[in-house]
């Protein structure tokens, strides 16, 4: 049953678009290390739609929680995120699952990303005299260093930059083999989902490229909202708009519209 104040099925918010598109990228049986907000919402939506055997991990030390509609946790470190979990364990041990290789997807939100998928959530300006000190890595650096990463974020010029000022969570560093050369033998960014498009990385150059466009969005529009020149994949798909069923289930999960407003 949908709360009255939710918008009609025909239209949807940016947050709803991101959640639906991200959920489609999560296939059944995966183990997903998820942050709060859209990542958690999208993973839970995938469980409800097509991936009942998908497992969510939370940084606070939570394995396989089962999110109940209307009970979305506000963070991954408080008791609310342990609801119906299969296991809770020390933080260090849930993070070690990344190093041991048990995690299929590290699912992050992004503040600032660059051409090679490096993420910055630490500093704006000179780190020694920052214009803005941001909260930092948390487990982001470990997730990005040790697993295949999926990122959801708003597509804005100030967020998509040629080169981040500070690499908090490593992508492909300077492209090519530089990630592996730096000592990172596994993982790397796979998919960037924005409100405009889906972007991946070229197998050799590791440069970011447009893979798919959301309905009604042009390559020019994506480029216009990106701070560097994007490559374009051989065949650029156009995604299907969120279905009534996807939106219906999503809105049931977040009746208070904490994350989908």
């Amino acid at each position: 049953m949908m709360p009255e104040r939710s918008c009609t099925a025909g239209t949807y918010t940016t947050a709803e678009l991101l959640a639906v598109m991200a959920s489609r990228a999560l296939s059944d049986g995966l183990i997903v290390f998820a942050g709060v907000g859209t990542p958690l919402l999208a993973a839970t939506l995938a469980q409800r739609l097509h991936a009942p055997g998908l497992t969510i991990l939370f940084e606070g030390g939570v394995i396989g929680p089962f999110i109940v509609p209307g009970e979305l946790p506000p963070s991954t470190n408080e008791q609310r995120c342990t609801r119906h979990a299969n296991m809770v364990c020390p933080i260090t041990d849930v993070l070690l699952l990344l190093q041991r290789g048990y995690v299929d997807v590290g699912f992050l939100g992004g503040a600032q990303i660059d051409r090679y998928g490096n993420l910055n959530s630490s500093f704006i300006g000179d780190p020694d005299h920052p214009k803005t000190r941001l909260p930092g890595t948390g487990g982001g650096n470990d997730i990005a260093s040790l697993s295949h990463v999926m990122v959801v974020m708003k597509h804005e010029k100030r967020r998509f930059v040629e080169q981040v000022e500070f690499i908090t969570s490593p992508g492909y560093l300077r492209g090519g083999t530089t990630r592996r050369d730096a000592g990172l033998l596994a993982g790397g960014p796979q998919l960037i989902i924005t409100d405009l498009a889906e972007l991946g990385f070229h197998p050799e150059t590791k440069r970011m490229q447009i893979q798919a466009l959301h309905p009604g969005v042009s390559i020019e529009h994506v480029q216009a909202n990106t701070g560097f020149v994007l490559d374009i994949a051989g065949d650029v798909r156009v995604t299907d708009k969120p279905s009534e069923r996807e939106l219906h289930v999503l809105r049931q999960l977040d009746p208070d519209r904490l994350y989908i407003a």
Binding site: P74, T132, N141, I167, G183
Partner: protein, 317 residues
């Protein structure tokens, strides 16, 4: 004498006998020496040893160094009160829903305090290495990032002699004191904690002194009936203080959730003018109340009951 021999000597000197060590917040605060490195248990808004921080601020401690897995408004209070000037952690902000902490930003951006950033797993493994009595732990993350390059003077790169693989060695953390809040503990210091454990199994073993605050002091007989629920042993502990709601306005698993309205208020108070706002907050909730219970009274019974209902609901899960 090597670093390990010093650590051994310091440990040997401690009174590790089976003895009662129940005391007041004020008495426990005296165990924290000037200049100490203080590790905080819990994570973010959960099982934060807030009452102990309250006592340290009131005891006039200043310029300490702190370490914790993730820091929330406790970090804001540490900077704003002058209790600490450096915090070693992986993430520092009141909480995602409140945006980036203005107090943290103000103190760090004006250069009056330092936020040293390590990856979350690195923090955990640095504590674990300290707990294990080894000088470092090899890890496979951090490499190639600026998070690493900013602290690389403290680490060592290594090529694995077994596999030829690149590794980073992160140094053990052996804090002078660890402050840990638990749900129950006996008078000797045998601590049992429910639910999320965070880094609180390794912290007491890594630290050179441990102060435990607990929602309840239970009998040693009760502890001995379920020894497999004890998370760290009495001989790591130097002080046991019974402090109901000792994490307020943060949460204690199964007991109470964060006092969300109070957290909203803190964010509101510090948004416009982080400096004045935080000083007002410290006056009202740290300096004016003559006891921790009075501080709770200031937070308000309504918020406390709401948090309690939420906390207890975990048992219906």
């Amino acid at each position: 004498m090597t670093a390990y021999e010093r650590l051994r000597a310091e440990t040997t000197e401690r009174d590790r006998s089976l003895r009662e060590k129940v005391m007041s917040l004020d008495e426990a605060a005296r165990l924290v020496q000037p200049g100490a490195h203080v590790a905080l248990g819990g994570c973010m808004m959960s099982r934060t040893p807030m009452a102990m921080l309250w006592a340290l601020v009131r005891a006039g401690r200043r310029d300490l160094t702190f370490s914790r897995s993730i820091v929330s408004s406790d970090g804001d209070i540490i900077f704003a009160s002058g209790l600490g000037r450096k915090i070693i952690t992986s993430w520092f902000s009141q909480g995602i829903v409140w945006g980036v902490s203005r107090v943290m930003r103000h103190w760090v951006e004006t250069g009056r305090a330092e936020f040293e950033e390590w990856s979350h797993m690195s923090m955990g493994l640095r504590f674990r290495a300290g707990a294990m009595g080894i000088p470092f732990m090899p890890i496979r993350s951090m490499m190639g990032s600026d998070v690493h390059s900013r602290v690389s003077a403290q680490t060592h790169p290594m090529t694995c002699p077994f596999t030829g693989e690149p590794l980073v060695l992160v140094p053990a953390l052996t804090p002078d004191v660890a402050l840990i809040h638990v749900q129950r503990c006996d008078p000797y210091g045998n601590a049992q904690l429910d639910g999320l454990q965070f880094m609180d199994i390794d912290l007491p073993m890594a630290a050179k002194r441990v102060i435990v605050t607990t929602e309840r002091i239970v009998s040693n007989e009760r502890i001995r009936r379920t020894p497999d629920q004890t998370k760290f042993p009495f001989f790591t502990v130097d002080a046991v203080v019974e402090v109901p709601y000792g994490c307020a306005p943060h949460e204690c698993y199964g007991q109470y959730e964060p006092f969300f309205k109070h957290m909203d208020m803190f964010a509101e108070m510090t948004r416009q003018d982080p400096e004045r706002g935080s000083q007002e907050y410290l006056e009202r909730f740290f300096h004016e109340p003559p006891s921790w219970n009075h501080a709770l009274e200031r937070m308000g019974l309504q918020d406390l009951l709401t948090a309690t209902r939420g906390g207890r609901s975990i048992h219906d899960a």
